[in-house]
Symmetry: C2
Subunit: 432 residues, 2 copies
């Protein structure tokens, strides 16, 4: 290439302009710079490639890993009426790229790492947020993570040994089950009722197996949409005391509920509950920011596990969420999200019910509709037919450690109303 000085004078522009342009070309791999000798055309130019998905699935994904991979794969072009993410259009207002700069402008510096627990400003803001749920904690009990899955991994690493028994709801979040199985723990399934876990069975399992942990979602349980009643919450904590187990309360959907609900963490006062949440669901799936509220005596062990696994958190992500919380932007976004969800949910419920899909009579809420197709439906055929049309269904078995719920499906209230989806469901459910 011509020298920077020469090209600048030829074009009548400043050398800075030319140097910047050369650097951009170098960053794209089009030219290479050699110290002291200038810029040269690169031998090979790398055109942007279109990428094949990871081994493309040949049928409906039947497990958590397959499902997650497909749902986040932009090249799959599949419809996922059971996705765990909010519809894209509902989230565009939350964190538009153009406002990220404004939200960060007050931040001091990205030239230093985050403290081991997470940035203090973020943990203070979280403590304020939690106080509104009557969860009263000190910022020094909060450990930031890269989302709720990461939070659960840290807790397990510190509290469990491979082979240990763990209580988990049936049905429940499939990725949580996959994580526990992958780490070598033994799952003890506790049936989930409309008002929380089945305490009789839970007690029987606790007495027999003496598990150290119980994983539960008190508010807007995934996939059923149920919320644990105050009475069941209280009894559950009593059982935890009697049988000496800890509880991981996963509250990733809690912010979506537009009315008060009791969290185990608000009753427990940081004795037996690890409260876990994140901003991936309600704020932005492009962020990975979550946190654990831990009983004080376990904080240091969790911090050690965090350092040994990922070294530290992202101060940039944490600053961004702090600002979203502090400016009130999060609350405004949530209010809009709740309005949209409310409307979409009642339409979806009606449409699916009309088709013949059955829902529990108890009031459920949130992003998911947990419905059962009639007995006469050939579910395998439905799975195959929908897959052929590029539709990923979320069959109930995926959520069940006992392989139950074969006729249940998790529907996403905002994504299940696609005409193709409804028409395939309708013909499958038609009485024969």
């Amino acid at each position: 290439m011509p020298s920077v000085r020469k090209l600048a004078s030829t074009l009548g522009v400043s050398p800075f302009t030319v140097a910047t342009s050369y650097e951009r070309l170098a960053s794209r791999g089009i030219v290479v710079s050699r110290a002291g000798s200038g810029y040269f055309i690169a031998r090979t130019v790398h055109p942007p490639v279109r990428e094949a998905p990871l081994s493309a699935p040949r049928s409906q994904p039947s497990n958590a890993l397959g499902f997650v991979r497909s749902v986040v794969d932009p090249s799959s072009h599949a419809l996922a009426p059971g996705s765990g993410f909010f519809p894209r259009e509902w989230m565009e207002d939350a964190l538009p790229p153009a406002v990220v700069g404004r939200l960060l402008r007050g931040e001091a510096s990205f030239a230093v790492p985050a403290p081991a627990l997470g940035t203090l400003e973020f943990r203070q803001q979280l403590a304020i947020k939690l106080a509104a749920l009557e969860i009263n904690v000190s910022p020094s009990q909060i450990i930031t993570t890269f989302g709720a899955t990461h939070a659960a991994q840290l807790i397990c690493r510190k509290l469990l040994q491979p082979g240990d028994p763990v209580l988990i709801e049936d049905p429940s979040y499939m990725v949580q089950q996959a994580q526990l199985l992958d780490a070598g723990y033994r799952l003890l399934p506790v049936p989930r009722r409309h008002d929380g876990p089945d305490l009789d069975i839970l007690e029987k399992l606790a007495r027999e197996h003496r598990p150290r942990l119980f994983f539960t979602q008190s508010v807007l349980h995934n996939p059923t949409g149920s919320t644990t009643s105050p009475a069941v919450s209280f009894q559950l904590l009593s059982l935890a005391d009697r049988y000496n187990f800890f509880i991981v309360e996963d509250d990733v959907f809690g912010d979506i509920l537009d009315r008060p609900a009791v969290r185990l963490a608000s009753l427990d006062n940081s004795r037996r509950v690890f409260y876990v949440s994140s901003f991936t669901k309600a704020l932005s799936p492009a962020l990975r920011v979550g946190y654990i509220v831990s009983p004080p005596e376990h904080v240091e062990a969790l911090v050690d596990a965090k350092i040994l696994g990922v070294l530290g958190g992202s101060a940039l992500q944490e600053s961004l969420v702090t600002s979203v919380l502090k400016t009130g932007r999060y609350r405004v976004h949530l209010a809009g999200l709740q309005r949209r969800l409310h409307k979409a949910r009642s339409v979806a419920l009606r449409s699916l019910t009309d088709i013949g899909i059955a829902f529990a009579p108890e009031p459920m809420d949130g992003l998911f509709l947990w419905g059962e197709v009639p007995r006469h439906v050939d579910v395998d055929k439905l799975m195959a037919d929908t897959f052929e049309h590029g539709i990923l269904l979320t069959q109930g078995t995926m959520f069940s450690p006992t392989g139950s719920f074969a006729r249940h499906f998790r529907f996403n209230a905002g994504l299940c109303l696609d005409p193709k989806v409804l028409s395939l469901l309708r013909s499958a459910c038609r009485p024969t």
Copy 2:
């Protein structure tokens, strides 16, 4: 509180202004909003708290976890002349909060999650960056992570079982050793020479123990600053073939070197080398963005481990780094960093040598100076004295799986010239 409408009319401002102000107060925990009934003063107001550090250390941290916690603790006010991070002032230009917005403005949306491997644009940009190092890979071999520590964790989970032997350099990065020990692997220390690992000992260990992995830093090895020679690199890969082990090549400091250097990954062609790097060191410690370049047959297993551990990456962080790379900003920042480092390094080397600290005669480079205090120095007293003055020293034993190097220290070229540090070192090294 007065109703929104009422206060707006009293003050003669728009209801929107009042509602926004109320929401900000609510986000700070000063008022609470109750749906349908308005805003109320919160019962308790949470003042920002100053936080005590995690259990404050009572002596120099002697292990990786204690050191990392202290170095990233903003409340400790300690000087860390052996820190692994660049001086704050050297990094302020790289990612000022005010330019983050500009860098992200072109991005499509943060309303969708990142694909399982990482965003395609980022992996394409990484492939271009790697091609400049003669590492020719497809974006589909690249898996993004939350930094290099996270990358190493994923590789270990997929390739090793607890109890497995692992080859590691002596000395080497202390957090890597701590991570391996915590996961239950057995360390096989290989002495690090000025031109790379000691291949005779490595071969002996490989023959006897049949390890599956070797962890190494080819370029700007931590803590010695040495770079593996092409000849040693070639022989190392031959040994990997002969004894059937994989190599994790950690290149987190590579971008800081201002001259070409051979990476194992460029010779190996994705057969036996997992190449790992990150942007935490050279771009911003407030980011946690790293990646693995994997042999193709291990990509899917690594993706599964990533999903089960953290669900996915941060599309926001990845977009930001993509933009920093694409605009040429990263290369401009690196050039400045290299200039500063070059200058600081020679001054630091001279000052420490004058004090009596000895350095290997072979040329070393990068952020670290690996020096040895004279035999007569009472190292325990030096450690205690400096700790009393709020100075964290980084003693060689911390880097050694054999507990060697008690008289060695790792110095950070940009942070060791503090007068208090130099004066304490000088009096400790003074001939008796």
